[in-house]
Symmetry: C2
Subunit: 330 residues, 2 copies
């Protein structure tokens, strides 16, 4: 009989078998777990998005946007707008371009009133330039940029809808303020809005620009903007104007199509009158519109041609705010 | 001195020189003429289209469309509508799908009242089927089809604009009548319009179909429609309904995107009440809407999944009819 020695191999075999079986079971469980995680979610209809996920830095670069807001001499409006815009759906980060040279940013006060839904970065500038907001900020992590003037209030509904439209037209400037140029028999261009005559292509009016002071566009265009002819920067600095017209030229040239897609806003407001600073914005200068016509002609010179194209597409949100805003009296 | 002989060579030389010079001049003129003809027309802005060119068969296949209108028991409405539609800009040809089995078409009367702006072809049918209008008619020479019900009047302005929109979205059904499906916890789908609850993706409503009774779509889809499962034809024949829902399934499956783009009509009218025939259209049947819900579920079965996708894009024409229909109270 073989007690000690014989049992030992058996027990050893037994232990080895036990260990082996345990390892096999664990591996099988891990594999099963991995397979479950890889199962495709059923996505034939888009899943309802009724519950808001907490905003984190890990929001996909495609599903969120960066707000860039340049500010000069209207910090009260800036802070009022920041309270509104910091809570817009799909916002990833806010970049405040601080054109108040030599003045402290409100960063301390901002932090003391935290926490905030998203990070806000104050970019202190050294010269008060209109085109500061068009720098290629490394802070931008998203594909989309929302650019807003520091006196413009657009509702969250409008912004959420316009962002979804931008996602369908990512190479265009998708925004709320359409403008146009017209050509005249002399070959000189003029800049304006609905008050100018129609360009004459069938019924109705046309627009050839969407202003970037209330619009979404691809962050790649900020990079492109750094590679423009020097004369473009000189023009914008000379007029402290027209950076938006230049951007529309850039985009139109790049796409060969109309630069912008106009989304009709339900609720857009100008808060200029509400500021305590008394400062009321560049567009009140007497020469503002004449400058912009001047810029159009200069840019045609610089770019050796007129790249802007006309569009008459106006986009609204189906069934909002009125659930039957498309109904017809048939 | 050398009179006769010496002059002769000179004169001969002179004649040769004259001939040579003439030939050179003629060649130069021909070359100049050819160069002028080859000069590129300046096309940085689209040229105004204010003067209508006479409609010819040579209109580019991309710049014109074919109207397909199926008709049953409403010849008075048909003829009224033909007078209107025959003059729509960019129309290439009209195809009338004649579902009045055994009855003579009004072709003789039509010809006696000529000339007409475009050719009108009467396609006599042998069975009165709803899906007759979705045959792949060889008469269609254009990329675009405009399909209209024989009781629907849409203004020329709306049609011209919607055609221009289709040219920007050629793979979609671009039309004036949006509808949707909704899914329910039981997994059974329901068909309807604004009266149904929103599918729940953010604010406002969504549509997932654009009906083909007043819409532009690519003529290639008529070809695709011939290659659908037999069960689709059986369903349409069984209900004498739902051909348009089937077409939306087809397009959504093909593109992986929402099948339709909704253009909000300014002036769309239903002329049913104006007919002398007393016939008032299939949609008045009690079971019409229930049938359409039934069709949605059957088609999901046939296609083994729900391909329809939601959209909330509503397109209107900028600055028409009101030249400032986009103006905001800023």
């Amino acid at each position: 009989r073989c007690f000690h020695f014989c049992k030992l191999p058996g027990r050893v075999m037994g232990i080895r078998l036990l260990r082996f079986t345990s390892v096999v079971i664990i591996v099988l469980l891990l594999v099963a777990g991995a397979l479950t995680a890889l199962l495709p979610t059923i996505k034939d209809d888009k899943l309802p998005n009724s519950r808001r996920e907490p905003k984190t830095q890990s929001q996909s670069a495609l599903d969120s946007f960066t707000l860039i807001m340049q500010t000069y001499n209207r910090t009260d409006l800036l802070l009022k707008l920041l309270n509104h815009y910091q809570a817009i759906p799909h916002l990833h980060k806010v970049i405040v371009v601080w054109n108040n040279i030599g003045e402290k940013t409100p960063e301390e006060m901002w932090n003391s009133l935290g926490p905030h839904p998203v990070p806000v970065v104050f970019k202190v500038q050294t010269i008060n330039r209109m085109r500061n907001r068009l720098q290629n900020f490394p802070d931008v992590e998203t594909k989309a940029v929302l650019m807003m003037d520091d006196d413009t209030l657009v509702s969250a509904h409008d912004l959420a809808f316009a962002f979804s439209v931008w996602q369908q037209f990512p190479e265009h400037i998708v925004g709320f303020v359409p403008r146009k140029h017209i050509s005249t028999p002399s070959g000189v261009y003029s800049y304006g809005s609905f008050e100018l005559q129609n360009p004459g292509f069938g019924n109705g009016d046309q627009y050839s620009m969407v202003l970037i002071g209330a619009a979404f566009f691809h962050s790649g265009y900020l990079e492109d903007f750094q590679r423009q002819p020097e004369a473009v920067y000189a023009l914008i600095d000379e007029t402290q104007n027209c950076d938006d017209i230049a951007m529309n030229f850039l985009v139109a040239k790049h796409t060969g199509k109309p630069s912008g897609v106009f989304v009709k806003p339900v609720d857009i407001r100008n808060l200029e009158k509400d500021t305590n600073s008394g400062y009321s914005g560049m567009w009140h200068r007497a020469e503002h519109l004449l400058q912009r016509s001047y810029c159009v002609n200069k840019l045609v010179n610089i770019y050796d041609g007129m790249p802007l194209k006309y569009s008459n597409i106006m986009i609204s949100q189906f069934g909002f705010p009125n659930y039957a805003n498309h109904k017809n009296k048939m």
